[in-house]
Amino acid sequence: MDFIIILQAGVATGTVLLFATIGEIFSERAGVLNLGVEGMMLIGAMSAFSTTIATGNPWLGLLVAMFAAGLISQVHAFITITLHADQVVSGLALTFLGTGISLVLGEGLSKAGTVSLLPNLSIPLLSQIPLLGPIFFARQSILVYIGYLMIPLAWYYINRTRPGLHLRAVGEYPSAADALGINVFRMRYFYVFVGGMLAGLAGATISLAVAPGWFSELTTAGQGWIAIGLVIFAQWDPVRAAVGSYAFGALRRLILDIQGPLTLLGFDNPFYYNPYWGFFLQMLPYAFTVIVLVIGSREAIRKRLGAPAALGNPYIRGERGL
């Protein structure tokens, strides 16, 4: 078993979580909790795959996926921002809605065969770096590189630019932002849309690059929920989100790959197609998410860091503080 190959595949798998997590960070930084990530990812995966089958152009598939998921996120935006309804319940509804629509429209897609995928490429000089080169920069999907670019860009945008400052203000203290002339409602709609688009991109990354195809709900297999958990672990910071996403990606790959080889580090592999161990291995990502949440929540208390202050609260002009 080659650990380099596992880590290489882990980075690609982690890119899915990266997009979804950064998307949710944008939405939550603006003060809107969107629990519908799983549904939006399924919409993205389904529309990317079906568009690519119909047109043969995976780039078009990517665009349609982002637009479709962004569009359905606006249902949540309208309910929570304009109608001031409960964000948790609305997010759950969005999960049902997204899952249902993608299953109905994706019926029969699983037998549609293969499509032309997004290109894989190696970066000339960087891929020569020992160890890191082959893991991060050799024969990766172009989406993986887009992911690398997104991490610093998202961090810079949130922490060092004027629109980023407005974004944080809207999530921390919307009435103050409103008093300064920032349009709280428009900002929140916009960042929920951004979150939706990135969740759609995450779904498209699955169906066009990491695990090509459409396997109904199993396409995402709960990764949307893991992404929401990673946001808490990341403490709403894109760089920490990247660390968590790639670690989880590597874990997911490891679980698949560890059951293959006969020997492991010179010993008989106890996981070698063992009919029982596999089930426990498959529990690991979810068990780890719980552990990560325990660690993340404790750290948040210790450092007095936490969610954006207005997260989960509708902004109603002229009502109470915050």
């Binding site: 409960d86 049902f96 249902g100 629509i101 299953l103 109905v104 929920w225 808490i232 529990m283």
Partner: protein, 378 residues
Amino acid sequence: MRSRLNSLFDALLPVIATLAALGVGAVMLLVLGANPLEAYGALWVGAFGSTNAFAETLVKATPLLLVALGICISFRGDVINIGGEGQMIVGAILATSVGLTFTGLPGWLVIAMAMLAGFIGGGIWGGIPGVLKAYFNVNEILSTVMMNAIAVQFMNFMLRGPMIDPSQAELASKIPQTARLLEPFRLLRWAPTRLHLGALIAVVLAILVYILLWRTTLGYRIRAVGQNPNASRYAGIDVKRHVVLALLLSGAFAGLAGMIQVYGVNYRMITDGSASGFTGSAGFNGIVAALFGQLHPIWSIPASVLFGALLVGANSMQRMVQIPSALVTALNGLVVVFVVSSEIWRRRRQRRRLAAAKEEDVPPKPDPDTPGKTKVRA
């Protein structure tokens, strides 16, 4: 007069929400190239067209109601339990192993023990996220979802390993299922339909949950913690303990739903590898039913029947007009969308009443039916 009109409007809100959801669903059907009237006709016939169809609707409604009862408790306590699927599975595993172990005991005793086992199994699976929330500040929405995925793999392991049907264990391609329960352990049925005693048990429990929530100290405290944890703490209520209890009880009812599915419908556990293969997604749809029933145990009864009817009707719709039955998942989402959206009218009116009361200097009547607004502590 005006207030009577308003309460009529409140009672009609779910109906309006359903009609709106069906309306959007009709647009989706048109997009899919089906005639909505024909499709909904097939749905209606499939759910209510005959005695047998109606019995099937009630069979599907039973686990929804049991899960919904748990949801009423937890959401009233301001804890969001999305773990019904996993809690059903663990409850069913425990209950099934009781039925397969104590084969020498009388039927009524085994059924009672199995109900207790289902209650305990689901309670453990709900209690863990409860402890994590109360004492480790872990968001229960996420932990319950993760517990679902863990329970599925646990079920797949148990049904292929320790609990596998002995007659399957020797075969080359084993079906992952347990042995069948003995005849006397099965819940009474109204032959020739599949309607079983579990439906009645669920309705009785709905009344008990109503009493629990509004006539006992425990229920009062759970609701108080849900409405205002700080005020409850000052009043001397152990908030953490009641958070755990709310999730534990919520899980316990889902676990009972799992038990009822085994003892009333299938008489064995069988897995296709997914959670919905065993639960039929009742763990999720029960949330929809509870929200639709305004988080009230008694109103959850008709709500569960409605969503049971949608599930049964969707299957016949798939057969008759070739529309994937997953449309129901989308419809469920739409119903919740409209129900949660309609809350704005209720709230607006409450605000107006508060303002009017302030002018007249009369303390406003509190609205006992408005559950605590869910605050997110991520």
